[in-house]
Symmetry: C2
């Protein structure tokens, strides 16, 4: 009997694992480019090289695909912030965080856009996570940053808005990629734009946060 492939105990065959990965990869492409409502199951199925009913055998509803994609995304998405280390040198830590986030914007732009789409629509599917896991993590790291400030190791400012500004500036290069490339033009808009961005952002944040002597 063909029981649900998405049962609580995921006892999956080899084919199921492979095909589900294939579908998720295709869905990432389609969802990130068109948003949830803008994407159709047919599009995803075609991108995954299978028929619609076949796809629906692995994920019973369109929303299930999106949900699975989101869950996976969030883990990797917050990893860089998790790595922000209390004991390291503040400026080195923040520089590394910015670099990692920028690398993610460069290497996983689809994931960034998927996330941006979700938030733009009011985060209907991940609100609990934002108010729970995310808030907890940010509270935690904001406390770390505040500790650095209190110790005079970086300039005093609002740690929450500092984190927001790092998110905004780095993700901008994924989410607003077409605009960035259009403005930079063909000469400066190649892959080197990420190098330039890294250089600029380091200057911006280090310049503002390094303690004035």
């Amino acid at each position: 009997m063909t029981a649900s492939v998405e049962a609580s105990a995921p006892r999956r065959t080899r084919i199921q694992k492979e095909k589900r990965e294939l579908i998720l990869e295709a869905a990432l492409e389609v969802f990130s480019a068109n948003g949830f409502r803008g994407a159709t199951i047919d599009q995803i199925a075609e991108a995954a090289g299978m028929s619609k009913p076949n796809l629906l055998y692995y994920f019973r509803r369109k929303e299930d695909i999106h949900e699975t994609l989101m869950q996976r995304l969030l883990d990797t998405w917050l990893a860089p912030l998790r790595e922000l280390d209390d004991v390291g040198d503040p400026l080195t830590e923040l520089r590394a965080y910015i670099r990692r986030k920028l690398e993610m914007a460069r290497d996983f732009p689809r994931e960034s856009r998927l996330f941006a789409n979700e938030i733009l629509q009011g985060a209907p599917r991940i609100m609990p996570m934002l108010e729970g896991e995310l808030k907890t993590l940010v509270d935690d790291k904001a406390a770390v940053i505040r500790g650095w400030m209190r110790a005079g190791r970086i300039v005093e400012t609002d740690p929450y808005h500092l984190i927001f500004s790092i998110w905004a500036t780095t993700q901008h290069y994924a989410d607003f990629d077409v605009q960035v490339r259009a403005v930079l033009g063909p000469e400066r808009g190649g892959e080197e734009r990420f190098e330039d961005a890294a250089c600029f952002l380091e200057q911006l944040f280090v310049g503002a946060l390094a303690p004035r002597t």
Copy 2:
């Protein structure tokens, strides 16, 4: 005879002007919250308090509404950058620009989200404008900023990425509003978040750009 209400020579009656405004206002609400494909004509019609066929009497196609909205948006959207003045004091000018952009994020979040949605989807409808009008404007203002840098009035850095970072950080408070509020929580996530943001961003950019003595 009911000729097109959107003819090249817009000879519009009182009712047409009123109703078109009503529709555009409703469409801004719906498009910005759901994206172009996610929005339905029925939703817009209901938000505008009229029937779907009635709405379609004023705008023949869904895309016409979106296009009109976009055209209007772009003018006001770029106004703050246009005001960046060559002859003023660099830090004062940049501070004013940041403040204006942040006020727009606060006062016109729907417009910001409409724009973000469009760019996220690859800017299919406004690409020419990005490569034309926008690029020209940014090139122009980047030259102004570079002039300030050459003159040693602000720290030398990449003017394009500086502009990007101002866009990113300010628009973040409109586009990622739900996330910002979720992370800040009920206490600090009220309307004062824009004050806090303004304060932080001023510190960030002035801190990084003010010439080191």
